[in-house]
């Protein structure tokens, strides 16, 4: 049942194919005139072999030989020259090189000039065709300027928003850090004051203890001094003893105070360092938090801006496409643009041709001059190379014509044999069909009347 269904489908396809195109079975089998629809194989041709069999191959080869000779000659450097001749040759080469550089620079300058003039003329023409101001710098220039301005305005606005956010963040940071600084300062001062107070208490107690320790001795001495009958000598002795007690006490108290002051100074230095480190850490943390916030805001802004920029760019592209479409469909504009192009090109070609003639004459004159100085005939290698190039171009033209003929033969054979694709260059074949022999036979039988460029007219010797 399934088989019958398949057969019906195949028959239906065949009926459709036969009826619809009015073609018979002969077409499918390759009888009659098979076209590309029946082709389903791949072939290849060894183009070198085929072209070698072409009736005009001998001419092609002769041109190639001539090119080889010219190329060899163009590379020749004169040998066996006397020192004077060698000096003349070197001087000639230097002057030829200078002339060549000058000629190239001159050509480039002329080309730039004409390109610029053409671009300006086309821009004016486009503006006039599209009804724009002639000063708008051309269609592209005008639209691009417009797009650039809008894009810049968008970017400027975004930058202003980001900048005000940044200023606000910096203000908040400053305030916060000021508070932090104040808190750290207060804390440091409190700690210092506390220690100062502790040390002062200890000093007072020490002072009292000292006074207490010397109290009995001091009272005894004071009692002795109250005796009016004391001799001057004794009185002085007791007074000295009292003074010594006072001095000793004062000295001890001073030593303690000096130690305490040193401790307080060290403590203050230490507290200052701690406070600075603490402030620095807080400043760094605040700054990185701010940077992170700024980066996040910038990202958000970029994300928000992208669609707007894309929309703007799309609009610009759309306008540009519309302008291009209008220009492309305007026959008058196209004719005028072509005329401008032709005019500029013809101007450039004329000038370049004159410059080249003058350049060739300069070279010929230099060679004549230095040949006379050296009493020998120098050759212009560049002129010979130019001859070789010209001949190579002629050979290329002939080769292309031969290739064209070969293609025609390949096409006929491929269509006849049901080959869909034919390669002209392969490294090796697998199951593809080799058409080289068939094509070679067909090409060999071609008439030699094939038109070809005249080799002798351009080839020098």
């Amino acid at each position: 049942m399934q088989r019958r269904g398949l057969l019906v489908a195949v028959l239906a396809l065949c009926v459709g194919a036969c009826h619809g195109r009015g073609e018979g079975a002969g077409h499918l089998l390759g009888f009659g005139s098979p076209g590309p629809l029946s082709a389903n194989a791949v072939g290849y041709v060894n183009m070198d072999s085929v072209i070698a069999a072409h009736p005009l191959h001998a001419q092609l080869q002769a041109m190639q030989d001539q090119i080889s000779i010219l190329q060899q000659e163009a590379a020749l450097v004169p040998a066996g020259l006397s020192p004077q001749q060698a000096a003349a040759y070197d001087a000639m080469q230097r002057e030829l090189a200078t002339a060549a550089q000058k000629f190239q620079a001159d050509l480039a300058q002329r080309r730039t000039y004409y390109e610029q003039r053409e671009a300006e003329a086309i821009a004016r023409l486009q503006a006039a065709t599209l009804g724009q101001s002639p000063d708008s710098g051309g269609v592209l220039g005008g639209l691009q300027q417009q797009y650039g301005q809008q894009a810049q305005a968008l970017q400027k606005q975004a930058f202003a928003t980001l900048n005000s956010y940044r200023v606000e963040l910096f203000r908040q940071d400053n305030e916060h850090l000021k508070q932090v600084q104040q808190l750290i300062g207060n804390d440091m001062r409190a700690k210092l004051k506390q220690r100062e107070s502790q040390l002062s208490t200890v000093e007072t107690k020490y002072q009292i203890d000292l006074v207490k320790a010397d109290q009995t001795q001091r009272l005894n001495l004071q009692a002795k001094l109250q005796n009016l009958a004391l001799s001057d000598k004794d009185r002085k002795q007791y007074q000295d003893q009292l003074s010594a007690i006072d001095s000793r006490e004062q000295s001890k108290i001073n030593a303690l105070k000096a130690r305490d002051n040193a401790e307080l100074t060290a403590l203050e230095r230490n507290l200052n360092a701690q406070a600075a480190a603490k402030y620095d850490a807080e400043r760094k943390a605040t700054q990185s938090a701010t940077q992170a916030k700024l980066a996040a805001r910038q990202r958000d802004m970029q994300t928000a801006m992208n669609p707007q920029m894309q929309q703007l760019s799309g609009k610009f592209q759309q306008q540009l496409n519309a302008a291009n479409a209008r220009l492309a469909s305007n026959e008058k504009y196209k004719a005028q643009a072509q005329s401008v192009h032709n005019q500029m090109q013809s101007g450039y070609v004329d000038e370049a041709s004159k410059a080249e003639t003058s350049y060739r004459q300069i070279r010929a004159d230099l060679i004549t001059k230095y040949s006379a100085i050296a009493h020998t005939q120098f050759q212009d290698n560049e002129a010979i190379a130019a001859q070789a190039d010209k001949l190579a171009a002629d050979r290329r033209d002939l080769y292309q014509k031969i290739e064209e003929q070969v293609r025609g033969q390949v096409q006929q054979i491929a269509q006849k044999d049901g080959i869909a694709v034919v390669f002209g260059s392969t490294r090796a074949a697998g199951s593809a069909v080799d058409l080289t022999d068939q094509v070679t036979r067909a090409v060999t039988s071609l008439q030699t009347a094939t038109s070809s460029p005249n080799a002798s007219s351009s080839g020098g010797s």
Binding site: L11, N40, A41, Y44, I69, Q72, V410, V421
Partner: protein, 271 residues
């Protein structure tokens, strides 16, 4: 009239069915291959697009300036220094070339790959190697290149292809092939020196005879030294092509997209 016409149609249909059965039954293996997946691109047309022309002009200007700098740099220098300077300038030119053409070539390659993937092509080659047939996708590629914005490479990889390709540079790097090429080059250079001396002061006819003799010597030497390596390489490629059931094998330089790389197999066969 109508029944008769109907009868004729049925008979025609039956004949078609028979013919189709015959075709299916007797079609050789080669004809069964799907060849609708071979495309080609005219690379010279792509090279004429605005950005490519600008890049060429930019590079030409760079080369011109570099040439002037090179002449100034080698002035009065010995051969070794000149060689070193030459290598340095070559490197600079290559770097600039990559810088100028790299992004454009990447865009072109992406466009070719994208078009090929959309059309389900197994291989896309340069137009110059196709003489007849194949699907020309040049216009699609140019349209894609002319679109604004980036051209992205397709996500899917090329389908399997019956067209193989081989990288000649890797084959040339094989020691025995490299030696043959170097020997031939050395012979050619030595002959060139002799030729320059022989050509001096000769008439046109004499020069022609000398060049013909030079060319014959070159051809003979080429046959002796290089041809055996070419033959063995061709045989190796053909054997790989048959083993893998390929239609044919082309040079990697002509392949723009897809295809089957058989270089490793060929190298293995040649070693």
């Amino acid at each position: 009239m109508v029944p008769f016409d109907h009868k004729r149609r049925v008979r025609g249909a039956a004949l078609c069915g028979l013919v189709l059965a015959l075709i299916v039954g007797f079609t050789p293996q080669v004809l069964a291959t799907d060849i609708s997946d071979i495309g080609f691109v005219d690379q010279s047309a792509i090279g004429q697009l605005g950005p490519f022309v600008s890049a060429q002009q930019q590079f030409a200007l760079f080369q011109r300036d570099l040439g002037v700098q090179f002449q100034a740099a080698i002035k009065g220098k010995g051969p070794a220094d000149q060689q070193r300077i030459y290598a340095d300038f070559n490197q600079r030119a290559a770097t600039k070339q990559r810088e100028v053409f790299g992004p454009l070539l990447e865009r072109a390659n992406n466009a070719i790959a994208s078009v090929a993937a959309n059309k389900n092509l197994g291989v896309v080659v340069d137009k110059t190697i196709i003489i007849y047939g194949g699907l020309d996708v040049t216009k699609d590629v140019i349209d894609m290149l002319n679109q604004p914005g980036p051209v992205l490479a397709p996500v899917n990889s090329p389908p399997p292809s019956d067209v193989g390709y081989v990288d000649q540079r890797q084959i040339d790097a094989l020691p025995k092939i490299k030696k043959a090429n170097d020997d031939y080059l050395q012979f050619r250079q030595s002959l060139q020196g002799q030729l320059n001396a022989q050509l001096r002061g000769k008439s046109a006819d004499q020069r022609q005879a000398i060049v013909a003799s030079f060319n014959k010597q070159l051809t003979d030497q080429q046959k002796k030294i290089v041809q055996p390596t070419i033959d063995s390489t061709t045989s190796a490629i053909a054997a790989v092509a048959k083993k893998k059931g390929l239609l044919l094998v082309i040079d990697a330089q002509s392949k723009l997209y897809g295809g089957m790389d058989v270089t490793a197999d060929v190298l293995k066969a040649l070693q």
